[in-house]
């Protein structure tokens, strides 16, 4: 108690300049850019914060317990683990080894007009330009939520494929490259995760080539379906179920602290 009293008596209020310097120091140590200044108009909210919060808790638990996590713990199943996914990459190792994880808000959502001839498709686009310096992409996922829709036959299988749009042509179909495909039961709901690592690497090397990704849904008999009909949630869906992209980065070399 005596010690505490002595400590209190020596405490002084920091000046405005000292406060700023102290805050600058903390930002510098943690590698934070400072308070964000959102570009108006504000982008629509997405479900990414929930996913990232789950990921943060998983990573923190790993650090606290000193465990080597080879899989994503059960605690992150809410958003991080796709309940429908049939062949997602083993993200546990990717998460453990990542130095930075970034979620990207979906900026553009184009859809084939239902009055136009099939096949139906939906396009998404993400701005990957604010990237961490000196880090390389180890994995990237496009995550979209599939909800239940009325009238769907639960025993039917849906084939959902995601393509990178490589080149757009006037009045013609663009060049597409298949990134990932999944077959899921029509009667289930949950997160779907598609591996888009190769596209993100391509976009990082050539940012101008980022034309987004295109999603197709087909039945077993190759009949094309609209993403909305099968319950794939888009930008108009609830906040906690918005599609987003998550990218995992690893530092190329040990970061060097600037002299202070």
């Amino acid at each position: 108690g005596q010690m505490e009293g002595m400590v209190h008596s020596s405490f002084r209020r920091l000046s405005g300049r000292e406060k700023k310097e102290m805050q600058k120091e903390i930002l510098s140590i943690l590698g934070l850019p400072g308070r964000p200044r959102p570009h108006p108009p504000l982008r629509p909210p997405s479900s990414a914060p929930l996913f990232m919060l789950d990921l943060y808790h998983a990573v923190s638990a790993e650090g606290d317990e000193g465990l080597s996590v080879g899989f994503i713990p059960e605690s992150v199943s809410h958003a991080a683990l796709p309940t429908l996914s049939t062949h997602t990459p083993p993200l546990g190792t990717v998460v453990s080894e990542a130095d930075t994880v970034m979620s990207f808000v979906n900026l553009v959502e184009h859809e084939r007009d239902l009055l136009q001839p099939r096949p139906y498709w939906k396009e998404f686009r993400f701005d990957l330009t604010p990237l961490p310096q000196g880090e390389t992409v180890t994995a990237a996922e496009f995550r979209i939520y599939k909800s239940l829709t009325v009238g769907q036959k639960a025993n039917r299988t849906l084939h959902i494929s995601v393509y990178e749009i490589q080149r757009e042509k006037r009045h013609r179909e663009p060049e597409l490259v298949l990134l990932d495909m999944q077959s899921v039961p029509a009667g289930q709901e949950g997160w779907l995760a598609f591996d888009v690592t190769s596209a993100s690497n391509h976009w990082l090397l050539q940012p101008r080539s980022n034309l987004g990704i295109r999603l197709y849904v087909e039945m077993e008999d190759d009949r094309s379906l609209s993403a909305g009909w099968v319950g794939l949630v888009g930008r108009r869906g609830p906040r906690s179920k918005q599609p987003f992209m998550v990218t995992f980065f690893r530092a190329s070399q040990a970061p060097c602290r600037p002299p202070r």
């Binding site: 020596s10 850019p33 914060p49 990232m52 130095d99 930075t100 994880v101 979620s103």
Partner: protein, 137 residues
């Protein structure tokens, strides 16, 4: 070159900033009338800094810091272990001139920060070997 900072020699225990409590090693013996470095704990609260609206997690973090005479302070690209090793080596050569280092971390833990950027993207930044959990003083 060795620094002989006479101002810091006059430091007393009550110079500790509130609310950080004295560390376990505050009773480190004085070498040649000089205060060897001491370990204290500091809590950085993101709420107190007014950053809660853009730093999603954690609410803050605690870390150790040294207070005392470090003849080889941390510089660019020198980590705490290297710093402590150098000071310890010089202490062994010149025990009367250079105090024993007391800030050699034996266990460093990672810290992760979750925050928003200008584009409403969410970033999880992981710092490996960031927080000193165990000190090998």
């Amino acid at each position: 070159a060795l620094r002989h900072n006479t101002q810091r020699r006059k430091k007393h225990k009550n110079d500790l900033p509130h609310p950080n409590r004295p560390g376990l090693f505050d009773q480190t013996p004085v070498s040649n009338g000089r205060h060897a470095c001491k370990k204290h704990e500091l809590y950085v609260s993101f709420s107190d800094l007014g950053w809660k609206d853009w730093v999603l997690a954690p609410p803050g973090y605690s870390a150790y810091y040294c207070d005392g005479e470090c003849d080889y302070p941390l510089g660019s690209c020198m980590n705490a272990t290297n710093h402590a090793l150098i000071q310890l080596v010089v202490h062994l050569i010149k025990p009367d001139e250079v105090p024993k280092a007391c800030c050699a971390p034996t266990k460093l833990s990672p810290i992760s920060v979750l925050f928003y950027d200008d584009n409403n993207n969410v970033i999880l930044k992981k710092h490996r070997n960031m927080v000193v959990k165990t000190c090998g003083c």
